[in-house]
């Protein structure tokens, strides 16, 4: 383990936040509104405690683990060398595929919004190239990049959401009663799905430097993510209404298309879409880094960077092969990927960690 390539808890938190903005905008608000209808804007309130519980649980299982022990090592320690490695390889394969999915998803979003009639391959290729370049570097560099981009992202999101406020209609958001709780809970599922994806970053936990005496300084990524999720859902639903929000591809960017920022700049979706691409870069790079970290643990090879190029190549292949057109891709995006994510990140990973903890392996 590279002793100089260490990050702090806060840096990991920021990296998680910036990365998860990428899948969040793919899923919201359509998935939440599909389940929760008009009350979807409150679904975040239900997703947040569930996300917090998951994060607290994983922290508890990791509490006494050695500092340089990542999730891959924990799986091997908890499940045994064979089953543990099998689990690690499973995760690595899924994440390799997921990396390609991220790249393709970003490319499709670009085509749907600001580059009509463009070519997905060129966007996918550029994204993979940049992610390859960054994933080959140090974890601390990637997390510092996320730290620098984070305030810019938050500022842009805040400005555009506030600019969309005049178009929000209470008729699209109300009424909400206790009877909507069930729908809200279902609507919270996609949001929780995104929050649960933070579990993948536990594979990088071995790079986190934990201060011995004082409380670790953490960035409240879960609350921030919930706020962004709330904002996106609230403003999109409030502007378009329930049915349009579900029917439209990239409903959030449709709303952005029609706002005027400070009454001066119009049609800022190009800026917002491309700023959001940075989150895709960071997430994709983080995923490639995680995959390389897993393979490093499984094979025992010291240098992680060795695995980045083949992982990127496989991700690229999956990006191109996953679906022939946007309709087929939508099926992956709406059902298959969220379902597998939920199973792996929200159920399997915590279960594996719990097994190791119960067996007192760490």
């Amino acid at each position: 383990m590279g002793k100089t390539d260490r990050i702090t808890e806060r840096q990991l938190s920021v990296l998680i936040f910036v990365s998860l903005l990428s899948p969040m905008i793919r899923i919201l608000p359509a998935s939440a509104v599909l389940f929760a209808g008009r009350s979807a804007w409150l679904s975040t309130a239900l997703a947040l405690p569930a996300g917090a519980a998951l994060v607290a649980f994983t922290r508890w299982t990791r509490k006494n683990a050695p500092e340089d022990m990542g999730l891959a090592d924990m799986a091997v320690a908890g499940l045994g060398p064979v089953v543990g490695r099998f689990f690690d390889i499973l995760c690595a394969l899924w994440l390799t595929f997921y990396g390609g999915f991220i790249a393709r998803s970003a490319a499709e979003r670009l085509l749907a919004t600001v580059y009509p009639n463009g070519n997905t391959p060129i966007f996918v290729a550029v994204m993979l190239a940049v992610a390859l370049f960054t994933a080959s570097g140090l974890t601390k560099t990637l997390s510092r990049t996320a730290e620098i981009m984070m305030p810019i992202l938050v500022a842009v999101i805040a400005v555009v959401l506030l600019s969309a406020l005049p178009d929000v209609s209470a008729a699209h958001l109300l009424p909400v009663t206790y009877r909507d709780l069930k729908g809200m809970a279902y609507g919270a599922l996609p949001i929780f799905d995104v929050m649960a994806a933070s579990a993948y970053f536990l594979f990088l936990a071995g790079r986190v430097r934990r201060p011995k005496s004082q409380r670790p300084n953490r960035f409240p990524w879960l609350i921030m993510l919930a706020l962004v999720a709330f904002g996106v859902t609230f403003f999109t639903l409030g502007t378009l209404g329930e049915k349009l929000a579900v029917a439209m591809e990239n409903a959030f960017f449709m709303v952005i298309r029609n706002i005027k920022v400070l009454g001066v700049v119009e049609r800022v979706e190009a800026v917002v879409v491309t700023i959001w691409i940075v989150t895709d870069f960071i997430f994709l790079a983080a995923v490639l880094m995680i995959v390389a970290e897993i393979w490093r643990t499984v094979t025992g090879v010291k240098k992680r960077a060795v695995f980045v190029v083949p992982s990127a190549a496989l991700s690229g292949a999956s990006a191109f092969l996953i679906a022939g057109n946007a309709f087929a891709f939508q099926r992956w995006s709406d059902f298959i990927v969220p379902a597998v994510n939920l199973l792996l990140a929200a159920i399997l990973i915590p279960a594996v960690m719990a097994v190791g903890k119960l067996r007192r392996r760490y």
């Binding site: 580059y115 009663t177 009877r179 378009l240 209404g241």
Partner: protein
Amino acid sequence: MKKAICALLAVGLALTATSCSGLTLFSNYRRLENIELVRTVTADRDGDGVNVSVYGTAGEQSEARMYERSGPSVGVAMGKLILMPLGREAILSHTETMLIGEELAEISIRECLDYVERFSEMRLDTGILIVRDGTARDLLAGLSGSDTPASDTIAGLSLNIAKVGEGYFFTAREIASSMADNGCALIQCVRGVKEEKLFEARGDLNLEPAGFAVVKDGAVCQYLTDEETLGVILLLGKYKSRNVDLALPDAAVTVSVDLAETDMKPVFDQDGRLAELRVKLSLRANVINIAGEADITDEAVRRECERELTEIMTGAVRAAVRRSQELKLDYLDLEGVIRRSSPLKFEDMPDAWEDVFPDLPVTVEGSGVLARTYDIADPPELSGKEDKNPWEKLIESLKGS
């Protein structure tokens, strides 16, 4: 790794070079000087197909031009139109309004809306207007003058009618949202009128609002009268102030209504059925003009004005609601109002809203208040009355009370 980076840089430079020469990979590359900026688009029926025209400018100093094309659908016709003569290319991202001819609107609005929604260049806040008593193309041509571009005339009307409560330019987003939520929508209608004496430098026609059209199943099914239009405007709150003429026995008083609050209260019976919808209209107006003999300082005269005002406005609201019920189209979103007001009771209603709505008793009550007159209550030189000293008037009034 270094070789990979060098390869990437080479590709990047190649992309740059191609873009410099115009051979870019992206379809949204345009040379600014070839752009024809389109602010207004029209669509009319043309046989079995559609005729579209755009009103474009190549620049501030350039003369605005009209271009038109026909095709079997809006998409095909627009596709032909975008690639203009002399290598010019229309850009629709600055389109503010789409004018749809009456004939086409009565067959299908949906196609035009669909084009606005799907075509990523166009904005969802594009105003949609239906042109009555003529084609949209002719209206646009008639509005085009050397001094004031047609688009500015339309933009001006859009701002003004909302202020004076004569109408409202619904945007594509609002129409689509209403159609999705309520199954129907309202669209502003306009017509061109000849005004020879007005602004000779302008084109042949001026633009005036012509009420609302009701859209159902993607096509216009009904045009609202002026009274119904006023009722809709009051109920939806789409105005800043509205001038109303009040006919008194000896005078005509014009007031400006600056506040018209609507309070809708559903009444449910013991079985949970929606028995009635009570609409209370609160009005506040200010006197802006008196023609004839009317002493506005006289309380009786003011009461008469208030009664007349209330009658006119409540009549308009009644008319709007009645029409909505006759058509069985809830374009006023009364369902949403009732649902927000009593959500649980609404959900527990034994009958579906679609069944209840057409026969739902709606009572409209109103109260109007004349708040003030501006500057002068009773101009002595015009009324013919003796110009009394204000102190004398005050003493008289105190004696009188």
